[in-house]
């Protein structure tokens, strides 16, 4: 008894007590769905699918830059309470892995049935080839992860989400599929509106601060002239900016897109020098009041861009 003493016994008693107290709640088979999305775009899409069948939380705040996210303990609680995780599947939300490992919720570990990777089955743009190292900045080696900005990807993204949710809750599969179809119908109607709004600007060249928009450009026939932050996470070199400004002048580029979480000073200087204007846009739903649904967010993006290109 002496060597280990009372402290060890006390510790073991506390250990047993805590383990019992923190036992997960009973089988969630018939309860409401508890879904966690890593990013606001997946949150908006998942909410449209889940509807009143459950609650969908998001691990990041709308308008928060997911590229250099700092883990907060409150995210661990969200992961702990969720039964299904909807994640991007590329490098955009790999910060969620240590959160899951700290949460004690093995259902959401990579490869577990409770994890939905929205990207599965999609054609990914800008998959880097050749030598990849940090001289290229903080690149996404697996390709550009901002695919939900192209509404054309939604049939696959939503199918992935429905398949994942239905895997855990087969009893809800039909209703989830019905919600999905209704959502896709709404997106199709809105899509015609968006295409019409940008129809007269097809082929227009655009510059952005960060490389967030290739899927958006693809969806609406816009042309990417360049990116100010040519190496992600590293301020652009003067030489790159001079070249970009020259190209913008030649191509008569009218708009520089800046994601709302990036500073506008460099973009403003480039736009001024090239005779263009800066358009600050939220890259994720919910960052601007009234845009917390996918369609409202895209409405905002399209109308703001159409206005900027038309001015």
């Amino acid at each position: 008894m002496r060597p280990f003493g009372r402290p060890l016994l006390c510790a073991l008693a506390i250990l047993a007590l805590v383990a019992t107290a923190t036992a997960p709640p009973g089988a969630p088979a018939q309860s409401r769905l508890r879904v966690l999305a890593t990013l606001p775009d997946l949150w908006a899409i998942s909410r449209a699918i889940v509807g009143d069948l459950g609650e969908v939380q998001v691990a990041t705040r709308p308008g928060q830059n997911p590229h250099d996210l700092e883990i907060r303990p409150s995210q661990i609680v969200l992961v702990k309470r969720a039964e299904i995780l909807v994640r991007n599947g590329l490098d955009e939300d790999s910060w969620i892995d240590p959160v899951i490992e700290s949460s004690g919720n093995p259902r959401l570990l990579r490869g577990a049935p409770g994890v939905v990777e929205a990207v599965r089955g999609l054609s990914i743009l800008k998959v880097r080839t050749g030598l990849i190292d940090r001289s290229l900045g903080d690149v996404h080696p697996s390709g550009n992860p901002h695919f939900t900005l192209d509404p054309g990807t939604l049939p696959v993204v939503t199918a992935n989400i429905v398949a994942g949710l239905g895997r855990l809750r087969p009893d809800l599969a039909e209703r989830l599929e019905a919600n999905r179809r209704a959502f896709l119908d709404e997106v199709a109607v809105a899509g015609r509106r968006w295409s019409d709004a940008l129809a007269s600007y097809r082929g227009a060249s655009l510059v952005s601060y960060h490389d967030s928009w290739p899927y958006f450009y693809r969806a609406f026939g816009l042309e990417e002239l360049g990116v100010i932050e040519d190496r992600p996470g590293v301020p652009p070199s003067p030489q790159h900016l001079v070249t970009l400004i020259r190209q913008m002048r030649e191509q008569r580029t009218k708009v520089v897109l800046v994601e709302s979480w990036y500073p506008t000073d460099t973009a403003a200087a480039v736009a001024r020098a090239a005779g263009a204007r800066v358009l600050v846009l939220p890259q994720s739903p919910g960052a601007v009041k009234g845009t917390d649904t996918y369609i409202a967010h895209m409405d905002f993006l399209v109308s703001a861009l159409a206005k900027a290109l038309g001015d």
Partner: protein, 451 residues
């Protein structure tokens, strides 16, 4: 009869199998049908999108060709590739052939390597007076007025299997040789090697091996992630320069299933910290417990609180108990996430028995630090730390003030300049001024930053 019986059994087995697998097949078929439909839709969308783009480009080309304007310089084609598209059939150019190739690659896109590798380098220059250098009583004792590698660390981390992850950290750093002031050695050692079990019952997560235990606020932070160049005096005095690190044992932790974050952890270790414990045996183990909570405040704020206790036996065979309380508040600006204001403080109390000529004596000692940091933007930050601590065994106390600035050209490279003024009384009688310059880099993968 026997043959007939066997046939009946076989028939029954086949029938049962068909009944059992029937719905599963139907479900599979449903899933496949849905996937097929989704792919068809995607294919149609992509085709339509590309046709529209081709048409738009064709129209634009016609317009440009129709004009008599001078030819614009060719733009570099975007690095757009589609996964699954046909491989390029162009022969390599002379420039391609002349470009140096990677002699050896551990990982390529797609992460062939099954775990992550990261290297961090942390170099410090410590400028101080000749007296401090002679007496070796600077913050980095024995390395005064030198630029030295404090820690170059190789980190390997990843999943072991579906149920566990592991981390191994090997570090090398310059340490002064005992007795020979002019001699310095670069010591390589195993800092961490532990596996975390992720799929235990009752929501438990546990790790075993060599680790930095969950104690306090800053003790769990690695050298290269510290908010200032040096660790606060109270931590260095109570646990030594290496802190409460490199403990061998087992640690379990739980996140309570409630709406506010509460994490409880409990660890049992050998007790290898020479300054505070040092018995180094599971017969008298070092026990460490911590409670940590976190509150989201308003839109942009967060407050973390923690309370810790560690109790073990010193190398002299006496009990030592250290308790700690910590708080950290962070406010993050809207939009870009900057500016960021951080306020943090931590206090420790040590209760131990020490040998004296008159017999054993109970000693109670306290110490604390507080700091604030203001991150102007992604690159620039400035801060101030204040230290006050008693010595854990001998009579003496000291206080210090350390203003600092930080510059981060990128997420992977950081420089700091810190001034530190220390006033000591008792056996640490001194008035010291030091200037630290720090350069840190990260090569490859690095764990995500935490609050």
């Amino acid at each position: 009869m026997r043959t007939h019986g066997r046939r009946s059994i076989a028939l029954l087995v086949v029938l049962s199998f068909s009944i059992l697998t029937g719905p599963a097949h139907a479900q599979d078929a449903d899933v496949l049908r849905r996937e097929l439909e989704a792919l068809r839709q995607q294919f149609a969308t992509v085709t339509q999108s590309y046709e529209q783009r081709l048409k738009a480009l064709g129209d634009r080309l016609q317009q440009l060709e129709g004009r008599a304007a001078p030819a614009a310089p060719a733009l570099a084609p975007p690095v757009t590739t589609l996964t699954g598209s046909a491989p390029a059939v162009d022969a390599p150019s002379l420039a391609d052939l002349a470009r140096p190739r990677q002699p050896f690659a551990l990982a390529q896109p797609g992460r062939v390597l099954l775990f992550d590798i990261g290297v961090s380098g942390d170099f410090v220059a410590d400028f101080t007076s000749a007296t401090r250098e002679r007496r070796h009583d600077g913050t980095f004792a024995g390395r005064e007025n030198r630029l030295f590698p404090r820690e170059v660390e190789l980190g390997l981390f990843g999943r072991v299997d579906p149920y566990a992850s592991a981390v191994v950290r090997i570090s090398a750093g310059e340490e002064p040789s005992e007795g020979a002031s002019s001699s310095r050695e670069v010591i390589v050692r195993l800092d961490e090697a532990n596996a975390t079990l992720l799929d235990l019952p009752l929501g438990t997560t546990a790790r075993f091996g060599l680790m930095r235990p969950r104690f306090g606020t800053l003790n769990t932070i690695h050298q290269d992630d510290l908010p200032q160049v040096d660790r606060p005096n109270v931590l260095s005095r109570f646990f030594g320069e290496e802190q409460l690190d490199g403990e061998r044992g087992v640690e379990a932790f739980w996140v309570l299933p409630v709406s506010i974050y509460h994490e409880l952890s409990l660890g049992i270790f050998d007790g290898d910290n020479e300054t505070a414990f040092g018995r180094g045996s599971l017969r008298d183990p070092l026990l460490i417990g911590r409670w940590r909570t976190f509150f989201e405040l308003e839109e942009r704020g967060g407050l973390q609180l923690d309370a810790s206790a560690a109790t073990g036996i010193t190398a002299e065979g006496h009990r030592n108990t250290v308790v700690g309380l910590g708080a950290k508040y962070k406010w993050i600006g809207a939009g870009s996430g900057f500016p960021v204001l951080t306020l943090a403080a931590e206090g420790l109390g040590s209760f131990r028995v020490v040998d004296t000529s008159g017999g054993d004596r109970h000693v109670e000692r306290w110490g604390a630090y507080a700091y604030t940091q203001y991150d102007v933007d992604r690159r620039w930050a400035a801060g101030l730390r204040g230290d006050w601590t008693e010595l854990p065994v001998e009579r003496g106390r000291e206080w210090a003030l350390s203003p600092y600035v930080q510059f981060k050209p990128s997420e992977f490279l950081r420089f700091r300049l810190q001034y530190k003024h220390t006033e000591g009384r008792g056996v640490v009688e001194r008035s010291a001024d030091e200037v630290f310059l720090q350069g840190s880099f990260i090569l490859g993968a690095h764990p995500t930053e935490r609050f």
